[in-house]
């Protein structure tokens, strides 16, 4: 209960309730004033009409006739009082609840005790006698008060309702946010797969929640990528390092000999260089996957880039007994990281040169998509997904040079550019077709 008072919805409801109360009180005062004025005007008209009647009586029947009428009227005890006074101030007929004042025109006689307040119209007749017509003001006050009470009652009810609604809204908001809070705590405690619950109403809370979930997804991807790199380093760099250690230990156990020592040291450096190359490739992949490159993307002329790669690798392919044919669509550009894209294309070509068949085709199509196709032994369907992962090498490729990270880097580069790397069989079901799709609208 107390926590609801520190809720935003509750504060908003309380604020609006207070405003409503103040407004209704102001409205009430104004309403009373207006109602009282209108009713008194009505009363004045009624008093004036009665006085009008008495004056006609006087004009027709004289002072005596008027006195008789006044006497008869007073005896009826209606809401209107009337009094006729002689010129010296003595009452001649009728009477008021209070001592009749000497006045001309309208006035209010304030009441006291059980005597009511009166509205009085006084005037002097041609003979010097005075006529007073009065009415009780109590009903006017009562009616004005009754009208004036309406706004504060309605306002109070509205304020109470606002408080109630605010309380309900605060409770519901509290419930919805409690789900989000507990999910966020779960993530903080290490359960990176947790996501904030959506209500399905697609309101502003859901929109905020979706944004937060996207953020959590990004964090999870980064954490997984980082954990993956750590695991890879632990598992796959350990074996070359152990080989290196054995090599050095073995050499140390033998007597010193300049020729075999030199040979051993050279082998050690080669082994170490391979570790360093794998390490550099891993860091590159991690960088590409972290998405930090995206903020430095600039427009890359993909057609020129692929053309240059083809020019550099055509002789390399030829020396290795392959032919590299190209079909490059001109004028394709996209926002991207030029160095990463270049390395991705070169890795695909090198992959084909090192593991593929004699005919290699390099294509750049609109999309943009880069394809490298060869008619070599290909990759078995069940291993296609695995070779994209880090350090996975086919058994038959263990003797060829490479870190086992080439295609992993291509896949990371594709993802950094909003695309993907897919491996398929070449035309006729043989060979390998590697397709790198990029998303031109990634920026």
């Amino acid at each position: 209960m107390t926590k609801h008072f520190s809720s935003f919805a509750m504060r908003a409801a309380a604020g609006s309730a207070a405003v409503m109360l103040v407004l209704s009180l102001l409205g009430s005062g104004w309403g009373w004033w207006r109602a009282e004025a209108a009713l008194r005007q009505q009363l004045d008209l009624a008093i004036a009409a009665e006085a009008e009647g008495f004056l006609r009586e006087y004009e027709e029947f004289g002072l005596r006739g008027l006195a008789a009428t006044v006497e008869a009227y007073s005896r009826r005890r209606g809401p209107i009082y009337v009094a006729l006074l002689s010129p010296d101030g003595r009452p001649m007929a009728g009477g008021l609840p209070d001592a009749p004042p000497a006045l001309r025109g309208f006035a209010i006689l304030p009441g006291s005790g059980d005597r009511p307040s009166l509205r009085v119209l006084g005037g002097t007749l041609p003979g010097g006698a005075r006529l007073l017509v009065a009415a009780d003001l109590t009903p006017v006050d009562r009616a004005a008060s009754a009208l004036a009470w309406t706004p504060p009652i309605a306002g109070g009810a509205a304020a109470l309702l606002a408080l109630l609604l605010g309380f309900i809204a605060a409770a519901r908001m509290e419930r919805r946010l409690a789900g989000a809070t507990s999910a966020a705590r779960g993530v903080m405690e290490g359960d990176l797969t947790r996501r904030l619950p959506l209500s399905g109403r697609n309101d502003e809370f859901d929109r905020l929640t979706e944004t937060f979930n996207a953020l959590l997804g990004r964090i999870e991807a980064l954490m997984i990528a980082q954990r993956q790199v750590t695991d890879d380093i632990a598992h796959d760099l350990r074996s070359p390092l152990s080989r290196l250690r054995q090599l050095l230990e073995g050499a140390l156990a033998h007597p010193r000999d300049p020729v075999s020592d030199t040979d051993m040291l050279e082998r050690a450096i080669t082994e170490l260089d391979a570790v360093l190359a794998a390490f550099a490739a891993l860091l590159r992949i991690a960088r590409a996957e972290s998405g930090v490159l995206r903020q430095d993307f600039s427009r890359v002329d993909l057609s020129a880039l692929v053309e240059t790669c083809a020019e550099i690798y055509a002789p390399v392919a030829e020396e290795a007994g392959h032919t590299l044919r190209t079909e490059i669509a001109p004028g394709i550009t996209l926002p991207g990281d030029e160095a990463l894209l270049r390395q991705a294309v070169m890795n695909l070509i090198e992959n084909a040169v090192l593991h593929g068949g004699p005919n290699i085709a390099l294509r750049l199509r609109n999309g943009p998509a880069i394809e490298v196709e060869d008619d070599g032994p290909g990759i078995p369907v069940e291993e296609r997904e695995a070779v994209i992962r880090r350090f996975h090498r086919l058994d038959r490729s263990r003797s060829t040079p490479g870190t086992g990270l080439g295609l992993a880097l291509v896949a990371a580069a594709a993802r950094a550019h909003g695309g993907a790397l897919t491996l398929q069989s070449g035309p006729g079901g043989t060979g390998l077709k590697a397709m790198l799709t990029l998303n031109a609208g990634v920026l």
Binding site: A277, A280, A281, D296, E311, V316, A339, Q343, E350, L354
Partner: protein, 231 residues
């Protein structure tokens, strides 16, 4: 040559200084950015080799300070951050070359030599390069050895131009990859060797004295056919 080495890691500094002294260079060593900058501003050096991350002002700040003071001594930046964008950042700050740790000493040696022999004027002013009976006309895009016109592909042309500009020096494979092809990574295939051997087949016909030498464990060098190496 007199070389200033700014490196805070004692072991790396000792390894580099020892190697360079064995080559016959005079090496001054500073183990922090402040001393390094002080030495670089006050004394004449042929080449400055600086680590990028240093206590005191870092390598890039030192280069900026030197360039502001109109000191044009060539600077080679060493870094463990071998990423390509870091290299671009370093070159933009005014560094002349960039080398990622760990490196082979041969690589450092080749790069220091290439820096020290840089022509003082901008290279674009030269329109004709020549070495012995080899001539490259950069404007006409014609290369001639003796009386024979060489028919070079664009890649071979860029490769020969780079070797000509650094005639007599040992150029490593990594240097060629970086400067000729703008590679920031080591390819698995022997890209450099293939292109060099193709160029060599066009440049050095059987019977002609060879100009492109393979330097074992280091790289290649283009030199006059009589084999006299300029050091």
């Amino acid at each position: 040559m007199r070389i200033l080495l700014i490196e805070d890691d004692e072991s790396t500094a000792g390894y580099i200084a020892k190697g360079l002294r064995e080559e016959g260079h005079v090496v001054d060593h500073a183990n922090n950015g402040r001393d390094g900058l002080f030495l670089a501003m006050g004394e004449p050096f042929d080449v400055i080799v600086t680590d990028r991350m240093l206590p005191g002002p870092d390598g890039l700040s030192i280069i900026r300070a030197l360039r502001l003071a109109q000191i044009t001594t060539p600077v080679l930046v060493l870094t463990s951050l071998g990423e390509v964008e870091k290299r671009v950042e370093g070159l933009e700050a005014g560094a002349d070359d960039y080398l990622a740790k760990p490196f082979a000493f041969a690589e450092l040696r080749a790069r220091i030599r290439a820096l020290a022999r840089r022509p003082s004027g901008p290279p674009a002013e030269q329109s004709v390069l020549s070495l012995a009976d080899l001539r490259m006309d950069l404007l006409q895009r014609v290369a001639i050895r003796g009386a024979r016109k060489l028919d070079l592909l664009p890649t071979e042309w860029r490769l020969l131009e780079y070797l000509m500009r650094h005639a007599g020096q040992v150029i490593t494979r990594t240097m060629l990859l970086e400067k000729v092809w703008d590679f920031s990574f080591d390819p698995t295939t022997n890209v450099v060797d293939v292109h060099v051997s193709r160029l060599r087949r066009k440049l050095d016909l059987p019977g002609e004295p060879p100009m492109i030498r393979t330097v074992r464990g280091a790289g290649y060098a283009l030199s006059t056919p009589d084999g006299v190496e300029e050091v």
